[in-house]
Protein backbone atom coordinates (compact mmCIF):
# COMPACT_ATOMS: atom_id res chain seq x y z
CA UNK A 1 0.00 0.00 0.00
CA UNK A 2 1.35 3.44 -0.89
CA UNK A 3 1.51 6.23 1.71
CA UNK A 4 -1.54 7.91 0.16
CA UNK A 5 -3.54 4.67 0.17
CA UNK A 6 -2.45 4.03 3.75
CA UNK A 7 -3.53 7.51 4.81
CA UNK A 8 -6.89 7.13 3.07
CA UNK A 9 -7.38 3.75 4.71
CA UNK A 10 -6.59 5.19 8.17
CA UNK A 11 -8.97 8.08 7.62
CA UNK A 12 -11.67 5.65 6.49
CA UNK A 13 -11.41 3.26 9.43
CA UNK A 14 -11.40 6.13 11.91
CA UNK A 15 -14.12 8.02 10.04
CA UNK A 16 -11.92 11.14 10.08
CA UNK A 17 -12.50 12.49 6.55
CA UNK A 18 -15.12 14.93 7.71
CA UNK A 19 -13.00 16.06 10.69
CA UNK A 20 -10.12 16.84 8.34
CA UNK A 21 -12.40 18.86 6.05
CA UNK A 22 -13.97 20.68 8.97
CA UNK A 23 -10.62 21.62 10.48
CA UNK A 24 -9.32 22.80 7.11
CA UNK A 25 -12.29 25.11 6.55
CA UNK A 26 -12.66 26.35 10.13
CA UNK A 27 -8.99 27.16 10.65
CA UNK A 28 -8.48 28.34 7.09
CA UNK A 29 -11.33 30.77 7.65
CA UNK A 30 -9.69 31.83 10.93
CA UNK A 31 -6.44 32.55 9.13
CA UNK A 32 -8.08 34.51 6.32
CA UNK A 33 -10.24 36.62 8.64
CA UNK A 34 -7.32 37.33 10.98
CA UNK A 35 -5.18 38.55 8.09
CA UNK A 36 -8.08 40.58 6.71
CA UNK A 37 -8.60 42.19 10.12
CA UNK A 38 -4.91 42.98 10.57
CA UNK A 39 -4.54 44.45 7.10
CA UNK A 40 -7.65 46.61 7.42
CA UNK A 41 -6.36 47.72 10.82
CA UNK A 42 -3.08 48.79 9.23
CA UNK A 43 -4.96 50.58 6.42
CA UNK A 44 -6.87 52.61 8.98
CA UNK A 45 -3.76 53.40 11.02
CA UNK A 46 -1.17 56.04 10.32
CA UNK A 47 1.21 54.86 7.65
CA UNK A 48 3.33 51.93 8.75
CA UNK A 49 6.27 50.45 6.86
CA UNK A 50 5.51 47.37 4.80
CA UNK A 51 8.20 45.42 6.65
CA UNK A 52 6.46 46.04 9.97
CA UNK A 53 3.10 45.00 8.50
CA UNK A 54 4.63 41.83 7.04
CA UNK A 55 6.33 40.94 10.32
CA UNK A 56 3.17 41.50 12.37
CA UNK A 57 1.01 39.48 9.94
CA UNK A 58 3.64 36.74 9.66
CA UNK A 59 3.88 36.54 13.45
CA UNK A 60 0.11 36.14 13.69
CA UNK A 61 0.10 33.54 10.88
CA UNK A 62 2.82 31.45 12.55
CA UNK A 63 1.04 31.70 15.89
CA UNK A 64 -2.21 30.56 14.25
CA UNK A 65 -0.37 27.67 12.61
CA UNK A 66 1.32 26.53 15.81
CA UNK A 67 -1.89 26.90 17.78
CA UNK A 68 -3.71 24.85 15.13
CA UNK A 69 -1.12 22.07 15.14
CA UNK A 70 -0.77 21.75 18.91
CA UNK A 71 -4.45 22.09 19.84
CA UNK A 72 -5.62 19.62 17.19
CA UNK A 73 -2.87 17.13 18.03
CA UNK A 74 -3.66 17.12 21.74
CA UNK A 75 -7.43 16.91 21.32
CA UNK A 76 -7.39 14.40 18.46
CA UNK A 77 -4.89 12.12 20.24
CA UNK A 78 -7.21 12.03 23.23
CA UNK A 79 -10.25 11.37 20.99
CA UNK A 80 -8.53 8.58 19.04
CA UNK A 81 -7.27 6.90 22.23
CA UNK A 82 -10.77 7.01 23.66
CA UNK A 83 -12.26 5.57 20.45
CA UNK A 84 -9.61 2.81 20.37
CA UNK A 85 -10.29 1.98 24.02
CA UNK A 86 -14.03 1.71 23.34
CA UNK A 87 -13.38 -0.52 20.34
CA UNK A 88 -11.04 -2.75 22.38
CA UNK A 89 -13.75 -2.99 25.02
CA UNK A 90 -16.33 -4.02 22.41
CA UNK A 91 -13.94 -6.51 20.80
CA UNK A 92 -12.72 -7.80 24.19
CA UNK A 93 -9.23 -7.89 22.75
CA UNK A 94 -6.03 -5.89 22.54
CA UNK A 95 -5.87 -4.02 19.22
CA UNK A 96 -2.35 -2.59 19.61
CA UNK A 97 -1.03 -4.57 16.61
CA UNK A 98 -3.93 -3.62 14.38
CA UNK A 99 -4.49 -0.93 11.78
CA UNK A 100 -6.79 0.76 14.28
CA UNK A 101 -3.94 1.40 16.74
CA UNK A 102 -1.73 2.54 13.86
CA UNK A 103 -4.46 4.93 12.74
CA UNK A 104 -4.94 6.19 16.30
CA UNK A 105 -1.27 7.21 16.30
CA UNK A 106 -1.06 8.69 12.79
CA UNK A 107 -4.44 10.32 12.19
CA UNK A 108 -4.04 12.95 14.98
CA UNK A 109 -0.74 13.98 13.41
CA UNK A 110 -2.35 14.38 9.99
CA UNK A 111 -5.30 16.32 11.39
CA UNK A 112 -2.90 18.53 13.37
CA UNK A 113 -0.88 19.31 10.24
CA UNK A 114 -4.01 20.21 8.26
CA UNK A 115 -5.33 22.27 11.15
CA UNK A 116 -2.05 24.15 11.39
CA UNK A 117 -1.17 24.54 7.74
CA UNK A 118 -4.64 25.70 6.67
CA UNK A 119 -4.43 29.08 8.46
CA UNK A 120 -0.69 29.37 7.86
CA UNK A 121 -0.92 28.60 4.13
CA UNK A 122 -3.93 30.85 3.57
CA UNK A 123 -2.26 33.67 5.54
CA UNK A 124 0.93 33.35 3.49
CA UNK A 125 -1.09 33.55 0.26
CA UNK A 126 -2.78 36.72 1.51
CA UNK A 127 0.60 38.23 2.37
CA UNK A 128 2.02 37.54 -1.10
CA UNK A 129 1.32 41.06 -2.49
CA UNK A 130 3.04 42.61 0.53
CA UNK A 131 6.16 40.55 -0.07
CA UNK A 132 6.11 41.23 -3.78
CA UNK A 133 5.84 44.95 -3.18
CA UNK A 134 8.53 44.80 -0.49
CA UNK A 135 11.05 43.31 -2.89
CA UNK A 136 10.24 45.92 -5.52
CA UNK A 137 7.72 44.18 -7.79
CA UNK A 138 5.16 46.76 -8.87
CA UNK A 139 1.49 45.82 -8.52
CA UNK A 140 -1.50 47.32 -10.37
CA UNK A 141 -3.10 48.27 -7.02
CA UNK A 142 -1.53 49.16 -3.64
CA UNK A 143 -0.26 46.01 -1.84
CA UNK A 144 -2.61 46.28 1.16
CA UNK A 145 -5.64 46.48 -1.15
CA UNK A 146 -4.29 43.58 -3.20
CA UNK A 147 -3.94 41.54 0.00
CA UNK A 148 -7.55 42.38 0.93
CA UNK A 149 -8.73 41.25 -2.53
CA UNK A 150 -6.86 37.94 -2.13
CA UNK A 151 -8.29 37.48 1.37
CA UNK A 152 -11.84 38.05 0.12
CA UNK A 153 -11.24 35.71 -2.83
CA UNK A 154 -9.92 32.93 -0.55
CA UNK A 155 -12.83 33.39 1.87
CA UNK A 156 -15.21 33.12 -1.09
CA UNK A 157 -13.42 29.96 -2.27
CA UNK A 158 -13.71 28.41 1.21
CA UNK A 159 -17.45 29.05 0.96
CA UNK A 160 -17.51 27.45 -2.49
CA UNK A 161 -15.70 24.41 -1.06
CA UNK A 162 -18.26 24.16 1.76
CA UNK A 163 -21.12 24.50 -0.72
CA UNK A 164 -19.76 21.66 -2.85
CA UNK A 165 -19.38 19.43 0.23
CA UNK A 166 -22.92 20.19 1.38
CA UNK A 167 -24.27 19.73 -2.15
CA UNK A 168 -25.88 23.19 -2.09
CA UNK A 169 -25.35 26.13 -4.42
CA UNK A 170 -21.64 26.95 -4.42
CA UNK A 171 -22.39 30.54 -5.34
CA UNK A 172 -24.77 31.00 -2.42
CA UNK A 173 -22.33 29.38 -0.02
CA UNK A 174 -19.46 31.50 -1.34
CA UNK A 175 -21.51 34.68 -0.95
CA UNK A 176 -22.43 33.65 2.62
CA UNK A 177 -18.80 33.39 3.70
CA UNK A 178 -17.98 36.57 1.79
CA UNK A 179 -20.79 38.29 3.68
CA UNK A 180 -19.11 37.31 6.99
CA UNK A 181 -15.88 38.86 5.75
CA UNK A 182 -17.65 42.05 4.70
CA UNK A 183 -19.39 42.30 8.11
CA UNK A 184 -15.99 41.81 9.80
CA UNK A 185 -14.41 44.51 7.65
CA UNK A 186 -17.30 46.89 8.34
CA UNK A 187 -17.04 46.30 12.10
CA UNK A 188 -13.33 47.04 12.00
CA UNK A 189 -13.94 50.24 10.02
CA UNK A 190 -16.63 51.33 12.47
CA UNK A 191 -14.82 50.42 15.68
CA UNK A 192 -11.20 51.14 14.76
CA UNK A 193 -11.75 54.88 14.76
CA UNK A 194 -13.35 54.98 18.22
Amino acid sequence: MSLLQHTRFHLRITGSHHILRRYFVVNGFDGALTMLGLIIGFLLSSSTSLTVIINVCLGAAIALGMSGISSAYISETAERKRALGKLEEAMVTDLQDSAHADAARRVPLLIALVNGFAPLGISLLILTPLWMSNIGISLPIPPLYAAIVIALLLIFLLGVFLGRIAGISWLRSGIQTLFVAVVTATLIYLLAGL
Binding site: F9, R12, I13, T14, G15, L87, A90, M91, D97, A99
Partner: protein, 89 residues
Protein backbone atom coordinates in the same frame (compact mmCIF):
# COMPACT_ATOMS: atom_id res chain seq x y z
CA UNK B 1 3.09 -32.49 1.94
CA UNK B 2 -0.26 -31.51 3.41
CA UNK B 3 -1.89 -28.53 1.73
CA UNK B 4 -4.76 -26.62 3.29
CA UNK B 5 -7.37 -26.11 0.57
CA UNK B 6 -10.21 -24.51 2.47
CA UNK B 7 -10.95 -22.98 5.88
CA UNK B 8 -14.11 -21.49 7.31
CA UNK B 9 -13.46 -19.05 10.13
CA UNK B 10 -15.70 -17.39 12.68
CA UNK B 11 -14.41 -13.87 13.24
CA UNK B 12 -15.42 -10.87 15.30
CA UNK B 13 -14.43 -7.61 13.60
CA UNK B 14 -15.03 -3.86 13.97
CA UNK B 15 -17.39 -2.29 11.39
CA UNK B 16 -14.36 -0.66 9.78
CA UNK B 17 -12.60 -1.80 7.64
CA UNK B 18 -15.76 -2.91 5.88
CA UNK B 19 -16.45 -6.42 4.57
CA UNK B 20 -14.97 -5.66 1.17
CA UNK B 21 -11.67 -4.31 2.50
CA UNK B 22 -11.49 -7.02 5.11
CA UNK B 23 -11.92 -9.80 2.52
CA UNK B 24 -9.52 -8.10 0.14
CA UNK B 25 -6.79 -7.95 2.78
CA UNK B 26 -7.24 -11.64 3.55
CA UNK B 27 -7.11 -12.47 -0.16
CA UNK B 28 -3.86 -10.49 -0.46
CA UNK B 29 -2.26 -12.90 2.03
CA UNK B 30 -1.87 -15.45 -0.79
CA UNK B 31 -1.57 -15.51 -4.55
CA UNK B 32 -4.65 -17.52 -5.46
CA UNK B 33 -6.96 -17.07 -2.49
CA UNK B 34 -10.69 -16.84 -2.97
CA UNK B 35 -12.50 -15.29 -0.03
CA UNK B 36 -16.18 -15.33 0.73
CA UNK B 37 -17.37 -13.28 3.69
CA UNK B 38 -20.82 -13.52 5.24
CA UNK B 39 -21.99 -11.14 7.95
CA UNK B 40 -23.70 -13.26 10.58
CA UNK B 41 -24.51 -10.73 13.27
CA UNK B 42 -24.23 -6.97 13.75
CA UNK B 43 -23.65 -5.12 16.99
CA UNK B 44 -23.20 -1.41 17.78
CA UNK B 45 -19.40 -1.48 17.29
CA UNK B 46 -18.67 -4.95 15.97
CA UNK B 47 -19.90 -7.63 13.60
CA UNK B 48 -19.54 -11.38 13.55
CA UNK B 49 -18.54 -12.68 10.17
CA UNK B 50 -17.98 -16.09 8.65
CA UNK B 51 -15.03 -16.11 6.29
CA UNK B 52 -14.40 -18.88 3.82
CA UNK B 53 -10.92 -18.98 2.29
CA UNK B 54 -10.13 -21.20 -0.68
CA UNK B 55 -6.69 -21.69 -2.15
CA UNK B 56 -4.19 -24.24 -3.43
CA UNK B 57 -2.08 -24.02 -0.31
CA UNK B 58 -3.46 -21.70 2.35
CA UNK B 59 -0.90 -20.17 4.69
CA UNK B 60 -3.00 -20.09 7.85
CA UNK B 61 -0.50 -17.91 9.75
CA UNK B 62 -0.63 -15.27 7.02
CA UNK B 63 -4.44 -15.34 7.00
CA UNK B 64 -4.52 -14.98 10.78
CA UNK B 65 -2.02 -12.12 10.64
CA UNK B 66 -4.16 -10.33 8.01
CA UNK B 67 -7.21 -10.72 10.25
CA UNK B 68 -5.36 -9.33 13.30
CA UNK B 69 -3.97 -6.41 11.33
CA UNK B 70 -7.53 -5.42 10.40
CA UNK B 71 -8.54 -5.49 14.06
CA UNK B 72 -10.38 -8.81 13.73
CA UNK B 73 -10.40 -11.53 16.34
CA UNK B 74 -10.50 -15.17 15.28
CA UNK B 75 -13.08 -16.95 17.42
CA UNK B 76 -13.04 -20.40 15.91
CA UNK B 77 -12.01 -22.47 12.93
CA UNK B 78 -15.30 -24.04 11.86
CA UNK B 79 -14.19 -26.07 8.87
CA UNK B 80 -10.89 -27.21 7.41
CA UNK B 81 -10.22 -29.05 4.19
CA UNK B 82 -6.71 -30.40 3.68
CA UNK B 83 -5.19 -32.58 1.01
CA UNK B 84 -2.14 -34.74 0.94
CA UNK B 85 0.04 -33.99 -2.06
CA UNK B 86 3.22 -35.65 -3.30
CA UNK B 87 6.39 -33.63 -2.62
CA UNK B 88 7.67 -31.93 -5.80
CA UNK B 89 11.41 -32.42 -4.99
Amino acid sequence: MIAVKKVILDILKPHQPNALEFSRTIAEAGVDYRVRLTVVEMDENTESVQVEVLGNSIDFEAVQSAITSMGGSLHSVDLVEVQSEPDMD
